[in-house]
Each structure stands twice: as structure tokens, then as C-alpha cells.
Amino acid sequence: MALLEVRELEKSFGGVAAIADLSFAVEEGGIYAVIGPNGAGKTTLFNMLSGVYVPTDGAIEFDGGSLVGLAPHRIAGQGISRTFQNLQIFFNMTVLENVMVGCHLRTRTGLYRAALRLPGVVREEHQVRDWALEALTLCGLEHIADRPADALPYGELKRVEIARALAANPRLLLMDEPAAGLNDTETVELRELIRRIGESGITVLLVEHNMGLVMEISDTVLVLDYGSRLAEGTTTEIQNDPKVIAAYLGGEVQYAVQ
């Protein structure tokens, strides 16, 4: 059974369909990429998967259970973590604290236990610190753990978000355009990082514009166009698909040739 299954998904904003009749399945393990031109509905799809938007129609199933209508924090509780296209960093905290927030679901201390600092709380703090440092090390950020997040350059902030999402120990990681705004060196580092994440057993669902990156690391690629599925397959199949080429080069070209 697929880890994530989307069936006949639909989302309209004021009568305009951003996603229409979309079905696909993501198998456990590996890297699954969603590509498509601007406005194809990629971010809308992500927002539905993470509970930010409620679908107009259709089903989203994760590990056999429905995600439709669940609040974002409940979906996170199922083992789905995400990063954002436009950064959503906690700028009022240090890098380490940002990532420690990622461990929220792995720990239990509530407000009143924390206020009284009962014995278990200190032990949990140490554990959370270790988990967070582990995630930071994986993302190559351990040397700036104690820096305030608002003092970091863009490229590092993007990795802080990934570290924070990883600290939640997710089964499925949703990455919304992780390479956007990165330079070539940073993109290479990111590619290696995503590979390591995939190898560690976390299923990665990636939305990305950088074709080079997608073609190098993805196991399966889904192409969206106008909110619907244009093609799905391995990177080689996608690269040779005439419909995909037409969508990317522009429909007129294809008609002109015909």
C-alpha cells in the first residue's frame, strides 16, 4: 500500500479550480518530485497535504487514514513534516531553539509541568537538545547553533527549516521549493542533503523548479499543469514525454510544428 495516496483531489478558490481531479500515490521510501509551470497548483497541493487548506473535494490518505479536515498540528502528529517556499522561521529564537521546536511532537512537557520544573522536564530538555543538534549536524549547521535566526543569510535559513522539519522525526517530509533562491554551490549541498535524508528512510515529497536538481535525485516525477496531472514517471520517461516538453516550451510551439 502506498504511504500517501491522493484521489480525485480538487481545490477551487472562488470558482477557479487550482487543483482539479488530481490522483497520485507516493510509495514509502525514495524521493517523489512534483514539478510544473508557475501557477500549476504545486503549493496549493502542499497546503492541502499539510492541512493549511481544506480540499473542496477528494481524498488524501496517509498510511491508510484520511487527512482531509484534520488541523495542521494533527497532520504533523501523523508523521508529516514540511518546509516552506517563503521562509517561516521563528526569527525570535536562536537556530538551535528553532530546531528544538521541531521536537515538539516527540516530547510531552506541558505548561504546568514546565512551570514547576518537575524532575522529568530537565531530562527531556537535554534529550531535545541532543535531537536538535543531531538534525543540525545532518544539515551542516551545528557551528551556528547558538546564533539568533535573524542574523543568518537566506541559504542557511533554508537549511534551518529543513533541520527543524527533520527534528520532528517524520515519515514523510514535504519540501516546498528548497532550491529557490540558492546559488549553485548551495544547490549542490542541498542535493546531497536531500539524498542523505532519502537514504535515512524518510520519504521525501518535493516541489521544485530547478529541473537539474529534480532530474538528479528523484525516483518518480509528477508533472502538474493547470492543476491536473500531465504526466507521471521516472526522470527518463518525463524528460522524453512530448506533453511535458510542450508544456515547458509552450503549447504554441507544438501547434506550430503540427
Partner: protein, 326 residues
């Protein structure tokens, strides 16, 4: 115990004040007022400074605690302690009930809603004359006794309020430095990211609002027993604004900042009395200047300024060493 170094230094200072300045009006009488205000400011800071929300009606909870104690002890002859407990339970329930619908609002709308709540509660205090004595207030509220030890002098009240105040500061420091505290700050930093990290943001906001309200209710009860007299004026809109001002003045999202703001805002009018007619004018000018020149707050601003000055001085003495540090 590096984490609590600042707290212990503060506790020692509070304990030494009456020893260093015995029988001093500013320590025992004004000191008690400062203690009340620190609790109110530190508790509200959790909600506005850390969680990034706003409440312009917090004096209402302070007043509910005070009136619960006053009414139950004078009209029904209750012992002050169960009366205080009843006030706490009532505030807990009311704060919980209003928190969910009110905290769905954000920014200006939340400010308006809490403002409205505070005003309604104050109107009830003024209008239900049979219970509260109306605008004339209630007198004859009994003092407090702790296991037979009567809190009947200014110095004893200073001791009691200081302990309550220090415990509140400790509680706030403990919360901030934990999973729950990070959740609060995450709500402030990015609500949507907090949710996708599994934080129930509605519950987080509601919980801290209720805790903050209960602390206000608790010191409200103490206030009633210490003053032996209360009237609606002590819990009106201007008091709510004053508590918010303490938090902002001292420095948002800093426990000691809120405490410092409470100290400054309580002492300043007392000191400025010498300027007589110009008192309010100078008070306003000082507040404006602080916000213009130290927008991050007095405490946070002074600390940051102090450390950067220190670094610059050290840099001049041993430039190589300071360079290595960075």
C-alpha cells in the same frame, strides 16, 4: 545553576532592601505595590511578550480576584484562603470560556475584544451596588493570616508579596526555558510553522491566557487583603493599559524586562511628585523618550547597550583577544 543566576541575584536584592533601608517608605509601602505590579507584568508578559498576543483587559482578572475575596469574606464571612481559591476557580472558568472565541482574533481585533471585556467587567463592578458597593467600593476587608502568623505590618506584607513575586518570576523563567515556552515563542514567530511542527496554537494561546489571568486573580485577592479596601477604579481600563505599558517599557519577551518595567513605572510617579504641576508632563516625556531611543525596551536596551560598551572597552585594551573571541 547558571540558568538562574539572574534570579538569585534579584532574590538577594529583594531580601536585602528592608535590611539596607529599614523603615523606609519606598521599600515597604511602595515596595508592596511594586511587588503586585511585577506579578501582573510578568504574567501578562508571557501572553503578550512571548506568545505575541495582546490583552487590554487584564485588570479585569486582577479585579475579579480582589472582588471575590472582598465579597466572600465581608458579606459571607468566609476565611480569606477559601475565598481566594473560589476567586481563582471563577477566573479560571471565565478565562477559559472567553479565551477560545477571543483568541481566534488577531492584532487590533484582539485588542478591541479584550478591551471590551475589561470595560464590561468594570461596569459590572460599578453597577452591582448590592454586591460590590458600586463606585464607593468595599471596606473592612480582613487582613491575612498564614498558619496563625498575622500579616499585619508593612514589612510582613513586603515579605509575603516578595515571595509571591519571586515565585512568579521563577515560574516565568521555567516556562520560557522549556518545550511549553518554545511553543509560545513559536506561535509568536510564525503561527503556521508552529502548527506544522505539531503545536496546537489555539490551545497554547488559551492556556497561557488562563494562567496569566489566574496569576492576576491571585494577586488581586492579596491586594484586597493588604489594602483592606477596594473600589472599581483600581481595576479599570487605565490599569490594564498601565500593565501593558510596564511590559513594553521594560522590554517585551523578557521576564526581567517586565519586572524592571513594573519597578520603573511604579517608582517614577513617586519620584516625579517633586515637580508638582509638571509631574504628568515629565512622566509622559520620559515614556516617549524611552520608546523612541530604546524601542526594544528599557531593560533589554540597557543590557544590550551595556554589553556592547563592555565589548568595546575590552576591545581597546586587548584587541587581539577580543578578535579571537569573535
Amino acid at each position: 545553576m547558571k540558568r538562574l543566576r539572574g534570579f538569585f541575584a534579584f532574590a538577594v536584592l529583594v531580601a536585602l532592601m528592608p535590611v539596607l533601608f529599614p523603615d523606609n517608605y519606598f521599600v515597604t509601602v511602595v515596595g508592596v505595590t511594586i511587588g503586585f505590579n511585577i506579578v501582573l507584568a510578568v504574567a501578562l508578559n508571557l501572553f503578550i511578550g512571548y506568545a505575541g498576543q495582546i490583552s487590554l483587559g487584564h485588570a479585569a482578572f486582577f479585579g475579579m480576584g480582589a472582588y471575590a475575596s472582598a465579597i466572600l469574606t465581608t458579606r459571607y464571612g468566609w476565611n480569606p484562603w477559601p475565598a481566594m481559591g473560589a476567586g481563582l476557580v471563577a477566573v479560571y472558568i471565565i478565562a477559559t470560556l472567553i479565551s477560545r472565541p477571543i483568541l481566534k482574533l488577531k492584532g487590533h481585533y484582539l485588542a478591541m475584544a479584550t478591551l471590551g471585556f475589561g470595560i464590561i467587567v468594570n461596569i459590572i463592578m460599578v453597577q452591582t451596588v448590592d454586591w460590590t458597593g458600586g463606585p464607593d467600593g468595599m471596606s473592612g476587608i480582613p487582613g491575612l493570616e498564614i498558619f496563625g502568623w498575622a500579616v499585619d505590618t508593612d514589612l510582613r506584607w513586603y515579605a509575603v508579596i516578595s515571595v509571591v513575586m519571586l515565585l512568579t518570576v521563577l515560574l516565568s523563567l521555567n516556562i520560557i526555558d522549556s518545550r511549553a515556552g518554545r511553543a509560545l515563542r513559536a506561535v509568536h514567530g510564525s503561527d503556521i510553522a508552529a502548527q506544522t511542527m505539531g503545536i496546537d496554537t489555539a490551545r497554547t494561546k488559551s492556556q497561557i491566557f488562563v494562567l496569566s489571568a489566574c496569576l492576576a486573580s491571585f494577586v488581586g485577592s492579596l491586594f484586597a487583603h493588604q489594602q483592606n479596601f477596594i473600589s472599581p477604579v483600581s481595576f479599570d481600563f487605565f490599569v490594564s493599559i498601565e500593565i501593558v505599558t510596564m511590559v513594553v517599557l521594560g522590554g517585551m519577551a523578557s521576564t526581567f524586562g517586565a519586572a524592571f518595567g513594573a519597578i520603573v513605572l511604579t517608582l517614577l510617579p513617586q519620584v516625579l511628585v517633586v515637580f508638582e504641576d509638571y509631574e504628568v508632563l515629565i512622566f509622559g516625556t520620559i515614556l516617549m523618550s524611552i520608546m523612541i531611543f530604546l524601542p526594544q525596551g528599557l531593560f533589554v536596551g540597557l543590557i544590550n547597550g551595556g554589553t556592547s560598551l563592555l565589548r568595546r572597552l575590552r576591545h581597546r585594551e586587548t584587541p587581539a583577544q577580543a578578535g579571537a573571541e569573535n
